[in-house]
């Protein structure tokens, strides 16, 4: 008899049963025929809060990393405490082996699993970019992670950079993360390289590091300098000098132009997100509360800073033809954000579904972005946690809003990737580096998210994408000023589970359904034409066409269900609640009046259709998140092992 409260409206609560399993928290509604279920993966839980016991029971607040907030009321204080203690333990595994991906089994055979891991191949990607070539080569200097344990074994470096130079440079860089190739622009030889900060202190120099940067410049014969972009605020970089770290001195390096781009550090970002989520959680905030809170959180400012850095680099590479070396402190957070935003702007390939997977694999996974620490997969230092890749994903969404036809994938694709970065259901984002993943034998023991997304790619297509559109080609040039490029609050992500806040009719889903139907029509047209030809030719045989006609009527049925959306009024006024809808003086007539009202309500189509609107359920079914059934329903059995909630 646990009650699940609706955050938006305290009036709505459902009673059900709470189950804890090894991997999930499951809430099943009592009573109603649907027995609706809410599933939450333990790894998604970011915090659990036990609140003061009230007359009705003991409230438990569960906040999830995918921005779901679940409020439960458990009748017995003791039960609540037990659940609380268990969840605290379950939500903070200490060993990788406890994570869901090691028990998750999508019923694929070994070969399929291996195929899945081969979907994204970075060697292929570098070849696509055009390396190795006359200027760039693959280096095996890090083959046993001997030089840098957070780098991949295979890195691309300028041809003129010898092993001696690389090793020398690595010793002069934080955590030995030496400059390596992130993106190469075939058309003009300009490149984006990445590294960590130099250990320059106040005056230290390193000949090999200087030679390394020189080599990068030489690899782009069209330009006589390179940009060195330090993505930190200048003050932070200067403070690092006192610790023997710092930034490049333009006097020591020949032909560099040095540039600070003030992106704040992970701690600032963590607090900023925290503040923004508090705003999202406000109960019926006023417009000023919301806008003021949003501004005060600084979140959109940070998103803009990252985007501006990406725009700067993309411009340097595409328009000036100048190579860029990007670093921050360790070169695995801000550097990853900025390099991947720049790549996305520069190369239309990364705006395709496959290309986007490759991009994350290249700039984040392979270059040692510390997924485990940042997203708290294992119990660890809370100060290491920060929404670094979330910010990158939001940058992509903001770009999608500005360039609606430029991306092959849709918003749902981004949201599901974000979800799985935290879910630990697939092995892709485990650990902090390639080295650790190899040691854990991730590829043999877990499945790849990319294969899973690829299999369901029909659900992630942007219906407006056309490869021949101008936005789908070449470099994207976003505007910079906020009045030209409106950075918006992404309610689809941060209020993802408050379905009532989202547009009730999704243009994307609608267009996807139309396109789906179009495709069927195309096929049918072909069949019909063939039949007609046959019929006219032979003028014999008596086949019937009825089956096809039935198909068609089914399609139309789906349309209407797409349109008749769950919808009820919100609490528009507090006055109304307290108002007795019948007059107290009317005595006898009362009951009759109640009846008429009840009749009215139960016969009301939009009221009865309303049921799934505000339960805040997990809809990761990758099938039809709108609940409208407008998407092709494939074999429903296949996906059910996932953390899905099936509304039926």
């Amino acid at each position: 008899n646990v009650r699940l409260l609706d955050r938006l409206s305290s009036r709505r609560a459902v009673v059900g049963t709470l189950y804890l399993t090894a991997t999930h928290v499951i809430f099943v509604e009592n009573g109603s025929e649907t027995r609706k279920e809410t599933w939450v993966l333990h790894s998604q839980i970011s915090s659990i809060e036990k609140q003061a016991t009230t007359a009705t029971g003991c409230p438990l607040l569960i906040r999830c990393k995918n921005f779901q907030v679940i409020q439960l009321v458990i009748p017995q204080e003791r039960d609540c405490h037990d659940v609380y203690i268990s969840l605290i333990r379950l939500a903070r595994p200490v060993k990788y082996e406890e994570l869901y991906c090691f028990s998750f089994n999508p019923k694929l055979d070994k070969k399929e699993r291996e195929q899945g891991w081969k979907l994204v191949d970075l060697n292929e990607e570098y070849n696509r970019m055009g390396v190795p070539n006359n200027y760039w080569q693959i280096s095996d200097v890090n083959r046993d992670y001997g030089v840098c344990d957070s780098y991949p074994t295979e890195v691309y470096v300028p041809k003129s950079a010898t092993a001696h130079i690389i090793v020398g440079s690595s010793k002069f860089r934080s955590r030995r993360r030496f400059p390596a190739l992130s993106y190469y622009c075939k058309s003009n030889n300009a490149s984006i390289c990445r590294s960590s900060q130099p250990l320059s202190g106040f005056s230290a120099r390193c000949l090999e590091d200087e030679q390394m940067l020189q080599a990068i410049r030489k690899a782009n014969p069209g330009s006589d300098f390179i940009y060195v972009v330090d993505t930190r605020p200048k003050l932070n970089a200067m403070a690092n000098r006192a610790a023997g770290k710092g930034y490049e001195n333009e006097d020591n390096y020949s032909n560099i132009k040095f540039q600070f781009i003030g992106i704040e550090n992970i701690h600032v970002m963590r607090n900023s997100l925290q503040k923004m989520l508090e705003v999202c959680e406000l109960k019926s905030p006023s417009m000023s509360d919301f806008l003021w809170g949003l501004e005060n959180s600084g979140w959109l400012k940070h998103i803009k800073a990252i985007m501006d850095a990406g725009i700067f680099i993309a411009k340097a590479v595409a328009e000036e033809g100048v190579s860029v070396l990007v670093h921050c402190s360790d070169g695995w957070d801000r550097t990853a954000q900025v390099c991947s935003v720049a790549s996305l702007l520069l190369d239309p390939y990364y705006r395709t579904m496959k290309g986007f997977m490759v991009l994350i694999e290249k700039d984040w996974v392979s270059f040692g972005h510390k997924f485990n620490h940042r997203y708290g997969n294992l119990d660890g230092d809370p100060k290491e946690i920060s929404p670094v890749i979330d910010q990158f994903i939001e940058c992509v969404w903001q770009l999608m809003e500005q360039f609606p036809c430029a991306f092959e994938f849709n918003e749902r694709f981004l949201i599901h990737i974000q979800h799985h970065i935290y879910s630990c259901q697939f092995g892709n984002f485990l650990c902090n580096s390639q080295k650790e993943r190899r040691e854990l034998k991730i590829k043999e023991r877990t499945y790849s998210l990319w294969a899973h997304l690829w299999k369901n790619r029909a659900d992630y297509l942007n219906p407006l994408y056309r490869p021949d559109h101008s936005q789908s080609q070449g470099t994207l040039h976003p505007q910079i000023a906020p009045c030209n490029f409106l950075y918006k609050f992404w309610s689809g992500m941060y209020n993802r589970f408050e379905k009532g806040l989202h547009p009730r009719q999704s243009v994307t889903d609608y267009l996807m359904a139309v396109k789906e139907e179009t495709q069927q029509l195309e096929e049918e047209l072909e069949v019909l034409q063939e039949r007609l030809a046959n019929l006219q030719k032979s003028q014999s045989g008596n086949n019937k066409v009825k089956s096809k006609q039935q198909d068609q009527s089914k399609q139309f049925g789906l349309y209407t269900s797409n349109n008749s959306l769950a919808n009820t009024p919100q609490e528009y006024s507090n006055d109304l609640k307290s108002f007795p809808s019948r007059s107290p003086s009317q005595g006898d007539e009362d009951s009759a009046l109640i009846l008429t009202q009840d009749n009215l309500k139960s016969s009301d189509p939009d009221l009865s259709a309303n049921s799934d609107q505000e339960s805040g359920v997990e809809d990761l079914s990758c099938r039809s998140p709108s609940g409208g059934g407008c998407l092709p329903s494939e074999d429903s059995g296949k996906d059910s092992d996932e953390a899905v909630f099936l509304a039926g």
Binding site: E295, P404, C483, L486, P503, N563, N567, S573, Q597
Partner: protein, 550 residues
């Protein structure tokens, strides 16, 4: 008066036109009585810009040496800049534009001179008559009647000659009620909810004054709309204290003692001068080219525009909720009943009535709830967000309404027959137009100006098939349900289509819209083809069967 007297320099050459996101163009500038015309005759892309003088909100001039620069700020929020060589020419042109764009007399406005180049298929002046509306109503209920009590505009100068009132109230009673309501705006039917027979009335505030005057006829009129034993809601668009203060000036509100079956709910919808300030601040923020995110958000917040949107939508939803969910009749009023009242009643109808979400239905709504209902368009829309002069009648009341419609449209993208462009077009024409539709402040004034005889109606133009096609929403599928929008701050957005229209590159968004249209069109074509083939096939097969049977 001859316009020629105002035009000191009718033409200037070598003028350079600057617009955001366009390359500067050199060309010739001409002034006529009603237009500013810029034409460039370059061989590669000749282009012309025609701008109505009445479209100009403000004009600034400055000089660098003998090169003058005129910055023209338009009522649709566009800003253009003209570089004019020669100080005298520039000064002359600037002062001419200033004079021509601020003509006092309505009859000098362009609609009186405009000669349409298109064939009129249907006279828009008679497209939406209240009589037609009443006919529809009579088919479902006989509780209402048309009253011609205001035939000479003598009972209420801001009402149309005919209104719909409860059948049981006669014209004499109406005259008495009119005396009890501000400006004579007695309660009339605004909307009848067929689903449950509930009515939405609108009026102005009752003139109770400090000593609690009452009017038996008024009470009888509003009670006539209630089902026996049921209550109604009065939605007062002012907060309680403002309503109370109004009593000192002879105004007031319905007191429980005299209206025991009605429950009053006070909402806070801002009045026009506050809205105008908010509008000006918002447009300032939207034109700020600085790159700073914080300043943008705090300016957006400080403008309060989105707060007004939220309050207004909430009030409209509440009215709709009372009618549809509580099964109660509703009376809406503020003070005069010509601004916030109309915003609420018209938005509530969009939520409740699927017909108002069609193009014709929406036009009818604007005619009924805004033009005939006496929203003083000419006063409110005389100036837009750039005007420096502090006249106190201007206010973006209608724009705020359109913005709310856009917000609902965004949330229910498939439920409206019209698209965003349709709303933007209405915004433009309300502020400056070649058509007479939005001239005057009431039907009374329009009749005196003989607008239907002397000017062309906007609807005559819009409802032509070739124009209409530009305003159709490709995603539209009739939705017969009540649509309840979310009014949470997360669900409300700045209307970029109006406020950032000239500051953002539109190319990509236009491409997206084209693609949407293409997807739907292609689908429909295929459907038609498949259906035709199916029929053909069925015929052939039937033939064959017959042959086989023979």
């Amino acid at each position: 008066m001859e316009f020629a007297e105002l035009i000191k320099t009718p033409r200037a050459d070598n003028v350079v036109l600057h617009r955001p996101f366009h390359l500067a163009v050199e060309g010739t500038l001409c002034l006529t009585g009603h237009h500013l015309i810029f034409s460039s005759r370059r061989q590669d892309n000749a282009e012309e810009l025609w701008l109505l003088h009445s479209h100009i909100d403000s004009i600034d001039k400055r000089f660098v040496g003998s090169l003058g620069t005129i910055v023209i700020k338009c009522k649709d929020l566009r800003i253009i800049q003209l570089d004019i060589p020669g100080m005298e020419e520039c000064l002359n042109i600037a002062s001419s534009i200033e004079a021509l764009s601020t003509l006092d007399s309505v009859t000098l406005m362009y609609p009186f001179f405009y000669r349409p180049m298109f064939e009129v298929l249907e006279d828009g002046w008679s497209s939406f008559l209240l009589e037609q509306e009443f006919e529809l109503l009579s088919s479902v209920t006989n509780e209402w009647r048309l009253s011609c009590v205001n035939k000479e505009f003598s009972v209420c100068p801001s009402y149309p000659p005919v209104v719909i009132v409860p059948k049981c109230v006669d014209d004499d009673a109406l005259r008495k009620v009119a005396l009890f309501r501000h400006g004579g705006r007695f309660p009339v039917l605004s909307y009848y909810h067929k689903k449950n027979g509930m009515a939405m009335l609108r009026s102005s505030q009752p003139l109770t004054g400090t000593n609690g005057r009452r009017c038996k006829e008024d009470e009888k009129l509003v009670n006539a709309t209630l089902r026996s034993g049921r209550r109604g809601f009065v939605i007062d668009t002012r907060p309680l204290h403002v309503a109370q203060q109004a009593r000192a000036k002879g105004g007031g509100f319905e007191q429980e003692v005299h209206y025991p079956q009605w429950r009053r709910i006070h909402k806070y919808i801002e009045r026009f001068n506050i809205l105008q300030e908010s509008f000006i601040k918002l447009v300032e923020a939207c034109n700020d080219q600085s790159h700073n995110m914080d300043r943008w958000l705090s300016k957006l917040e400080a403008s309060n525009w989105l707060t007004h949107i939220k309050e207004l939508l909430t009030a409209a939803c509440l009215a709709a909720q009372c009618i549809d969910r509580e099964g109660a009749s509703v009376l809406v009023h503020g003070s005069e009943g010509t601004d916030s009242t109309l915003q609420v009643t018209s938005l509530a109808q969009i939520i409740l009535d699927p017909r108002c979400r069609t193009i014709r239905g929406f036009e009818a709504l604007i005619v009924r709830e805004w033009l005939q209902a006496g929203h003083p368009f000419q006063q409110r829309c005389a100036q837009s967000a750039y005007s420096n002069s502090k006249q106190k009648w201007e206010a973006p009341v209608f724009l705020l309404f359109l913005d709310c419609v856009w917000q609902i449209h965004r949330q229910f993208a498939c439920s409206f027959e019209f698209n965003e462009q349709f709303l933007i077009m209405l915004f433009e024409h309300a502020y400056a137009s070649q058509f007479g539709t939005f001239l005057g402040n009431s039907e009374n004034e329009r009749a005196k100006l003989k607008l239907p005889q002397k000017t062309m109606s906007l609807w005559s133009w819009v409802n032509r098939p070739e124009e209409m096609s530009k305003f159709q929403n490709p995603l539209y599928e009739a939705n017969s349900l009540v649509i309840w929008p979310s009014v949470a701050p997360q669900s409300l957005q700045l209307w970029e289509g109006v406020f950032l229209r000239w500051n953002r590159p539109s190319k990509f968004l236009e491409e997206a819209e084209k693609e949407r249209i293409h997807i739907i069109k292609y689908n429909k074509e295929l459907q038609a083809k498949v259906n035709a083939l199916r029929r053909r096939l069925a015929e052939l097969e039937a033939q064959e069967e017959e042959e086989a049977q023979e």
